[in-house]
């Protein structure tokens, strides 16, 4: 953000004349980050001066997209309140998914679950939106560090969504979560099986790095596991969108 977004002339003008930026180091101020339910970086929360949250942007956006989204939020477009208002008039599965996603990033896990489930229940349980909802539902126990429950959810997706991107994503998540559990041997097997199943995956380079690290073949990267989690989560979020 600092090197690309906040140095962009349009963003500089926007943050000089239209909104005020506050930067908080989430590592140094982890309490504030926890209170704000920050689960990925960067996260930009738009607030009113009384402290009320308008909405948030999780993950990286190009300068033009970021400015547009923030202006939309300022005009009440695409915010959680806006989407809830639309849903009050007429149920829409895509909007229901967006609402679930917003609650997920705000720490409203129960509400997120409910909205994702409504997407699945109101349509074909094997269509793309249901798949995205299932992936989102599986990520909730993972975020709560309930790894076994998350693995079971991803394994179920692999069965229900065979020969789709969801199957591939779920298998990778399983391998990654096994690694997070600390089972090195099983994680190596899971990653290697993934490579065997999906040799052309876009994630191959990262996976090979994971396997090498697990086998102790190279020193640990400086990037922490949390960072990878966040970027992993975000990249999947982008895929879903």
């Amino acid at each position: 953000m600092d090197t690309v977004v906040f140095t962009d002339p349009k963003v500089i003008e926007f943050l000089t004349n239209e909104m005020a930026l506050v930067k908080i180091d989430a590592v140094a101020d982890s309490l504030k980050a926890k209170e704000s339910h920050i689960s990925g970086y960067p996260t930009i929360i738009m607030i009113e001066q009384n402290g009320d949250e308008v909405d948030r942007v999780v993950g990286y956006l190009e300068p033009d997209s970021l400015i547009q989204k923030l202006r939309d939020y300022a005009n009440g477009i695409g915010t959680l309140d806006d989407l809830l208002g639309k849903m009050a008039k007429k149920f829409d599965r895509k909007i229901a998914f967006e609402i679930g996603d917003k609650y997920k990033y705000r720490g409203g896990q129960e509400k997120a679950r409910s909205w994702f489930q409504s997407v699945i229940d109101s349509g074909d349980p094997t269509d793309s939106l249901s798949g995205e909802s299932r992936m989102a539902l599986a990520s909730i126990p993972y975020r709560d560090k309930n790894y076994d429950k998350a693995i079971k959810a991803y394994e179920k997706i692999m069965k229900d969504f065979q020969d789709t991107d969801f199957e591939e994503q779920s298998e990778l998540w399983c391998a990654y979560i096994i690694k997070k559990k600390g089972d090195t041997t099983a994680a190596i097997v899971a990653f290697e099986e993934f490579v065997e199943h999906y040799p052309k995956s876009e994630e191959i380079e990262w996976i090979q790095g994971q396997i090498s690290k697990l086998k102790g073949e190279e020193p640990k990267e400086e990037q922490s596991e949390e960072t990878k989690e966040d970027s992993e989560e975000e990249s999947k979020g982008e895929d879903e969108g």
Partner: protein, 59 residues
């Protein structure tokens, strides 16, 4: 070449090297203005504009 000429040439070489080094110094890139806390922002801004709180992590 006498000693004085050699000394002058050495000085000129040193000066040109120093100038070359200073030419390579990066120019500061303008960046968006920001505050370090919401309270600081509230005090500084006089209109009712929205505040954007960016949480970042420098690992």
């Amino acid at each position: 070449m006498n000693k004085l000429t050699l000394m002058l040439m050495s000085v000129m070489l040193l000066v040109s090297t120093a100038l070359a080094v200073s030419d390579s110094v990066e120019v500061a890139v303008p960046s968006a203005p920001y505050y370090n806390s919401v309270d600081e922002a509230k005090i500084a801004i006089t209109d009712d504009r929205y505040i954007l709180v960016e949480f970042y992590a420098d690992w």
